[in-house]
């Protein structure tokens, strides 16, 4: 695996390894066969594993997740692809009422080892419904695990860990980073639900996941030129959340800023701010601040740069945090 891989290729390799290691693993989704998926994440897999294991499905998201549940009941380990973030809503009942609750309803007698892969987030100049960040809905639902990698190494290993999990995992892929390359190591290095400090610092902690990690790393780089040392934590797992790593960092820096593409209002940042305030109250030099999307439908692509947090908006929040 050594060498530079794009996130897309790292995911593709992860699916290949999972198909190789467990004959019960099956992939399901729209256009994932000959086409290899609209983002080519499943490229070549149907050719190598057959259309019995890499299954082109009818265009019906509820049907994809619902039948995956039935396959799981029969002992299979389905990995389903939702083609774009905005297309997952027709499957909402099957995910939040059926998939998430099945294990509890059966008092633990059945497991739901299903991974729901969703390319999410904006920044690719797409038409509407192709740029959504809906992680809060899923993180809000008990029974689901929600993760999002930010780099090729994590994309590969977190997907393999998600597929191995006996609980349902919503796996959010940062679609605008699909072609970013990075080293993929020989082992995962961290458990699936751990956060990682990706840049050490002392003055404030930037907390991000998925596509926003890179923005925060760039912001931290820029801030360093002004003599500010910002720590960047890649959350990686959105449910459960590794609060121990966050708490340690925020207590040390005294300031925390959460950055995500999703609307700020009732976004993941709200929960992070509340919990970090409880845990770090006497160490805080400023309230936990949030940078994110506005409380408006995701905008047309010509103005999405205004909607999406960028380096300047992150640094503006850093200024505000440091001004307290």
């Amino acid at each position: 695996m050594a060498g530079q891989l794009s996130i897309a290729k790292a995911l593709n390799e992860a699916l290949r390894k999972s198909l190789e290691s467990d004959p019960k693993t099956v992939l399901m989704g729209e256009d994932i066969g000959k086409l290899g998926g609209v983002f080519r994440i499943t490229d070549g897999l149907q050719k190598d594993f057959g259309d019995d294991r890499v299954i082109d499905t009818p265009l019906a998201e509820s049907g994809i997740v619902g039948t995956a549940i039935g396959l799981a009941l029969r002992g299979y380990r389905p990995v389903v692809e939702i083609q774009f973030d905005g297309f997952v809503y027709p499957a909402f009942d099957q995910i939040v009422s059926q998939l998430a609750k099945m294990h509890a309803r059966a008092l633990g007698h059945v497991k739901m080892p299903i991974t729901v892969r969703i390319p999410f987030g904006g920044g690719i100049g797409a038409v509407e419904h192709h740029s959504e960040s809906h992680e809060a809905y899923f993180a809000h639902t008990a029974g689901l695990r929600v993760v999002s990698p930010s780099n090729a190494h994590d994309a590969h290993w977190m997907l393999r860990q998600a597929i191995e999990s006996d609980d349902p995992v919503v796996f959010l892929e940062p679609k605008r980073r699909y072609w970013d390359k990075g080293e993929v190591g020989e082992d995962p290095m961290l458990p699936l639900h751990s956060a990682r400090v990706v840049r050490p610092g002392t003055d404030a902690t930037l907390i991000a996941y998925g596509p926003m990690v890179k923005v925060c790393q760039e912001a931290a780089q820029a801030a360093e030129e002004d003599g500010r040392r910002l720590e960047v934590v890649d959350l990686r797992s959105l449910s459960p959340i590794d609060f121990a790593t966050l708490e340690e960092s925020v207590k040390r820096t005294g300031r925390g800023i959460v950055v995500h593409e999703a609307p700020v209002f009732l976004g993941l940042g709200a929960e992070l701010a509340a919990r970090l305030t409880e845990r770090c109250f006497y160490h805080l030099e400023a309230p936990i601040l949030r940078v994110g999307g506005y409380h408006a439908p995701y905008p047309p692509s010509r103005v999405e740069e205004t909607y999406l947090p960028d380096l300047d908006r992150v640094l503006d929040a850093v200024d505000r945090a440091l001004a307290f």
Binding site: G63, G70, L73, A104
Partner: protein, 383 residues
Amino acid sequence: MTVKSTSRARKKAAPGVPDPARAGVGAEPELVQLLTPEGDRVEHPEFPLTVTPEELRSLYRDLVLVRRFDAEATSLQRQGELGLWASLLGQEAAQVGSGRAMRPGDYAFPTYREHGVAWCRDVDPLNLLGMFRGVNNGGWDPNEKNFHLYTIVIGAQTLHATGYAMGITKDGADDAVIAYFGDGASSQGDVNEAFTFASVYNSPVVFFCQNNQWAISEPTTVQTRIPLYRRASGFGFPGVRVDGNDVLAVLAVTRWALDHARTGQGPVLVEAFTYRMGAHTTSDDPTRYRQSEETEAWKAKDPILRLKAHLEKEGLADEAFFAEVEAESEKLGLRVREGVRSMPDPDPTLIFDHAYSEPHPLVDEERAEYEAYAASFEGGEHH
């Protein structure tokens, strides 16, 4: 009955509402029937059935015990022992006939009203009552009797059934799946998606629609303008309408459908034409939306009376047999009553027990918080 109610509905039909006559409400000639309401055996060229007197008595026993269990549950709800009950009254033959058509390796995906199918799958009736009493949200191991948990969101289980059937095909097994749903569910996207998936993957699943004429207060004319079994043709598989109050016809048709599915010929839609004699649930009041004449007319088609009439006419059962079944049904009623009344409330920490199958730090943290809070009360227990 059907002609009367049809003409009445036609007069009242609002603009834009499809003509009920076209919904096939009165299309009884299309019903597959092997036992008339009077208890006479009739033949159907496509669905021959040979049953021994022993099998007929056994079916009768099933029908009586299932009805008794159901009546007991309704009473227990009235006594405050259950929060809710969804009665199957009137649908016993549809459920017992289809349930008895299954082989041990077949798998049933019920709605929340398939108590008769559960009976045939040998699921303990008390297990069904847990969720209606509020001590769990399902609770049994679906794989133990190949009977899935009850599903309350209408139609969602038809997709689970189809996925399970897709798995059977992958395994190269000759099991089949039966997916229960109702006339109301036929409008759901999930049901139509299940038809599509099952059709294109040629999955071994029988879609068993109990058309009991009412989706709470809405008649079938609000769901469809063609007979429901004809929906199958648009998806490319066979549909059959069977007299749902005729346990023999349901048995024959479902057995055929399951064999059709298990032999690689793909899905079948069975529409069991029946009637919900009771309310939708114990919270419902059908007097607000349907006429008692209609219910009375369906009483004449009662599934138990017709089998009893047949057994008596043909001399296949004696008084001792009927008394024995009656005694058994009393015993079942008692067991259900006592079982429900002594069903303990779960420990409150059940809330946390099965949210996830693998450890989850937030759940662990909240459990610890709750336990500490509960322990802070005098006596260490919070009620």
